[in-house]
Symmetry: C2
């Protein structure tokens, strides 16, 4: 990824008009295989995703040269308030736009929300064990592998294992008190 | 656990009238702490659980000497058909009825459904790392620890780690063809 590429990536919140772009991403073999999505995706499925986002959850998209080529979901990890500190994320990038910093830009945006605006102290995800690029991306952002779920999901005729990764942070600091005006 | 105890345990499906017993179980300190439930449980919460069970999912209760003292949920693990082979379970036993085979009877019943009637080949669960009795119960039933989620949930003022355990099976066999009637 070059600096020029990175500057061409715009991350924003998904809107209703992005449903077709979601379907186009998930119609690509690698993007579909790398997730829990199914063959022959329909825009209607993703229109519902976009519409169903609950307050506090985020569905982000990345535009590369004006085209929506990736998406990220940042969700509260469960219904129990005892896991209120935990978020889960999932990222997908269109096959033709891999390795250009799209996933990295999406992840950076999501972790900024998680760390600095909601204060999640645990962010967790699952990633298929052979998705080396994604694992490297997550490691670089501070995720570590906590375990490996055997036969996690079906992918193209085989059950595939998934790593369970998580990133733990200390949580937000208290703001320093404002400095008193110097009246001396 | 003695044979007499085991014979005193009856496992059946939860019904609307069991909501009070659920609340009574989760009102106990250990049962509440060992789950993701919250202090001051209300029967209304569990009436909704019982009412909301979707086809194919199970909410079971165990009666010990006629009293409902434990419950188990067996649920499809997620919405994606790519994880259609996976179930998740959670068990709770009233504090006063621990170590009498209640959890074991519930787990046996759930695994019979999973193995022999739905054909799940992966059953997964989370258990707090210091819940040795539960971990031993799950190990005995064929579960292994696949990883450990750090700071999984809040419990009595501290974030507690949880093991992710799973049990993999080969799946159902094809029935042997019926033996042809012997006409010799």
């Amino acid at each position: 990824m070059t600096a020029a590429d990175a500057s061409a990536i715009v991350v924003r919140r998904a809107e209703a008009r992005d449903a077709d772009a979601f379907a186009a991403t998930f119609a690509m073999p690698a993007a579909m295989a790398g997730t829990l999505q199914l063959p022959y995706p329909t825009a209607a499925t993703y229109a519902k995703w976009i519409d169903d986002v609950v307050p506090g959850d985020y569905l982000l998209v990345a535009e590369f040269e004006g085209r929506v080529v990736g998406n990220l979901g940042l969700h509260a990890a469960g219904k129990s308030p005892r896991r209120r500190h935990v978020a889960t994320i999932g990222i997908s990038v269109h096959d033709d736009y891999q390795h250009r910093g799209v996933g990295s830009a999406l992840l950076r945006a999501a972790l900024d929300i998680a760390d600095n605006w909601i204060g999640y102290t645990r962010v967790e995800l699952t990633v298929y064990t052979d998705n080396e690029a994604a694992i490297a991306l997550y490691r670089k952002a501070g995720f570590t592998i906590e375990g490996t779920a055997r036969r996690f999901a079906l992918r193209n005729g085989h059950y595939i294992d998934a790593h369970m990764m998580a990133r733990i942070t200390a949580g937000p600091a208290t703001a320093a008190p404002a400095t008193a005006p110097d009246n001396s």
